[in-house]
């Protein structure tokens, strides 16, 4: 995966989370995963299509999702209801869209698909023929891992 793709995601994740959570966000060390990996319990996914193809997965555990959604809504949310899911989905959408906007300015042409969210236990994600780069982000509400898998279209 070309490194030019990843930086805009790291930057926009950092900026958007800092802004919507109104608190500090720390960036962890990036790492590469080429096999399947576990998903923490709540995963929002946004697809990329166009000159390149792939997907971005935002992964966190349930308590983190609830705390992030509570902070973004300005009210305490304690169950994984439709509003919590819509909020996490929108967080994923904002980060991906800002990254796509930046990549667009650099000359990469692709679009994003409406996001989807998965919740459950013992989930894992596998990437066939495409390696995924993981960007860990530490927020005051817990850890969010951003899993980016992009490849140029054959």
């Amino acid at each position: 995966m070309r490194v030019e793709y990843i930086n805009p995601f790291v930057e926009s994740a950092f900026n958007v989370m800092k802004e919507v959570l109104q608190s500090e966000v720390k960036r962890g060390e990036l790492y590469l995963k080429s096999t399947s990996m576990p998903v923490m319990g709540v995963a929002a996914i946004v697809g990329l299509a166009g000159g390149v193809e792939g997907r971005v997965l935002f992964d966190m555990d349930r308590p983190t999702a609830l705390k992030i959604a509570s902070a973004m809504n300005g009210e305490e949310l304690t169950t994984m209801d439709d509003l919590v899911k819509a909020t996490i989905t929108e967080l994923a959408n904002m980060i991906t869209a800002q990254a796509v906007t930046k990549l667009h300015e650099l000359g990469f042409r692709f679009d994003l698909t409406p996001p989807a969210i998965f919740t459950g236990d013992n989930m894992e994600v596998s990437n066939q023929d495409v390696e995924a780069l993981i960007v860990p982000m530490d927020t005051v509400h817990g850890k969010v891992e951003i899993n980016v898998a992009i490849r140029e279209r054959a």
Binding site: L83, E90, M94, T101
Partner: protein
């Protein structure tokens, strides 16, 4: 002795949401995200605007606009939505009412997309994440013209 000046006047400013006649501006919010629709609605109602309708995709937004017309002053329109995207809905609303005031609200800020929306008749384009002040300023500006 305390004089009147000791108390800050908090009610002097007329809320943005009221027209010069004193009636609330009527807004239609089109967004497929429950979170975003709620966020926009909260920002607007806190300033006295009347959110007269919400629609979860472009097609429903267009239908709702036609139902409400002429009792609607402004539309906030998301772009990436199922069934009918916001750009198409914008064009169809302008075809129906060439004076419609539509503001696009999207997380995507790609220049050609912004240009396309403005050329199609959108009055403004707000890039998310939404900031209360930014939203209120842009909407008040569009309504003042």
């Amino acid at each position: 002795m305390k004089t009147k000046e000791d108390f800050p006047s908090i009610n002097e400013r007329k809320p943005d949401g009221l027209s010069p006649e004193g009636t609330p501006y009527r807004i239609l919010v089109v967004d497929d995200s429950m979170f975003v629709a709620k966020q926009i609605t909260q920002i607007l109602t806190s300033e006295g605007y009347d959110v007269v309708g919400q629609a979860a995709d472009g097609l429903l937004g267009l239908e709702r606009y036609k139902e409400l017309y002429p009792n609607v002053d402004l539309v906030t329109m998301d772009i990436t939505m199922p069934n009918m995207d916001g750009l198409t809905a914008l064009q169809k609303i302008i075809d129906f009412d060439k004076n419609a005031k539509v503001i696009m609200i999207s997380a995507l800020g790609k220049q050609d997309l912004v240009k396309q929306a403005l050329l199609a008749g959108a009055k403004n384009y707000i890039v998310k994440p939404l900031d209360r002040k930014k939203v209120l300023e842009r909407i008040a500006h569009v309504l003042s013209k």
